[in-house]
Chain length 258, copies 2
């Protein structure tokens, strides 16, 4: 089943999702960007899509309209967009409930959330991306499932409340673990040490954690309740109060969790 | 160059290092454990090593003595161990300075620190492990280099002060990123959601971070300064004050770092 799809948004998700939809055989009809130049940058990556900076889609041939924009503007765009008959309007956010689309002119609404971290300068393999889907209309939900299935073998039906919890979990698993690497990079750079040295440790840490589970996989001074080392490290970090505080709080949480 | 080596300690490092040394063609002569039963568990994994619970090594055939014990007991063992002539005493710790071995009966002292996370129930491939070496004696240092080289192609000469900084960086990169996965697992479990869903995200996060660097790789609500989502997440986590505080502090640090 091939769809005609309009995408609203020109950020990281739209940037990767639009070409992936074309590769899967669908037609991207329009790209909407508040800034037409941004929309044109993205249509430049596509075959047939037209760039657009107004929200009147009453003449669009698309059936599925994907809001791939910041959480803050989803509701505004949903309220203002003018959609053709029988259209399905979805958003791609981890944290915004489905009912925010309730005042739109769409016949059906839903969630089409690709659970992945997207950056413009790194290609995403959608075959590994889980899609979290939701709709109150069974026929619309079936269509979203087919659409997701054309991109990835992994689909889950998740209600808004669970999707929010999942998004919090994803922030810890992805954004926060990445920030731990960031702080590590900075400590190494400050000392003039090569971050390459730590890469095998990082790869083994994550592989082990995914295999054994993080609780069993944990090692290090907090896990051993090695208070001398924890104190030495805390003193070392006193050049930056906030980082020292992060060190203390996470170490305490590790200690408390065994 | 093959060495005769005695290992003091029966923890995670000793558990993996001793068999790896044998596999590399060296002879492990003795395993010391305060609890002889623990020492015997480890000699059971080895060909010729004898278990031992006293610190008199004056008759040992070993040349290299590896203290693979908790940081807190390194100094005590170093002071008490009786070593033969021309012996090299090293420890495997990331945070303990070299000079702590200064009062021992060893002819030479050094550091032999494998920068990796070790758990008993997961095999370690030493070929990927960087060894951080230090000694004030050039001949001893050359021997430690040869010993490390027989296990891994990655050796670095690192002074105690830098090694401590590196250990702090390793705690962030390994123990703390693992703890972020732990918190993520717990949020998923509490909500009855399958952690499997997050695994592709975690793998992509780390791969991307190692490729682009963590600063460029970052995404998520804190990166976008999406205060609504940050607040919703913080409210969601109010069932556990400490986790909510971790969420707040790390998010703030991400915001501050761009």
């Amino acid at each position: 089943m091939k769809f005609k799809i309009a995408i609203l948004g020109t950020g990281n998700v739209a940037w990767h999702l639009a070409p992936a939809l074309e590769e899967a055989g669908h037609t991207v009809t329009e790209i909407y960007g508040r800034d037409i130049m941004e929309a044109e940058k993205l249509t430049g990556r596509l075959y047939t899509a037209e760039a657009k900076s107004d929200l009147d889609f009453s003449d669009s041939e698309a059936e599925v309209f994907i809001l791939a924009v910041s959480d803050q503007v989803i509701s505004e765009l949903a309220d203002e967009i003018i959609l053709p008959e029988e259209s399905i309007l979805v958003h791609t956010s981890g944290s915004v409930p489905l009912d925010i689309l309730g005042y739109s002119s769409a016949s059906y609404t839903g969630i089409f959330y690709p659970l992945q971290t997207f950056s413009k300068d790194r290609k995403v393999d959608f075959g590994d991306v889980p899609f979290l889907l939701e709709s109150e209309d069974q026929a619309a939900l079936q269509k979203l499932k087919k659409l997701a299935k054309s991109l990835s073998p992994h689909q889950y039906l998740i209600k808004s409340r669970d999707r929010m919890a999942l998004h919090v979990a994803a922030v810890f698993a992805s954004n926060f673990s990445n920030h731990m690497l960031r702080l590590s990079e900075e400590i190494m750079a400050r000392q003039g040490l090569d971050f390459e040295m730590l890469k095998p440790l990082i790869i083994e840490t994550i592989s082990k954690s995914l295999e054994l589970g993080a609780k069993r996989a944990q090692t290090g001074p907090a896990r051993r309740v090695d208070l001398n080392t924890l104190d030495t490290h805390f003193q070392f970090l006193n050049y930056n109060e906030q980082i020292a505080e992060i060190y203390k709080l996470i170490s305490q949480d590790i200690i408390d969790s065994y």
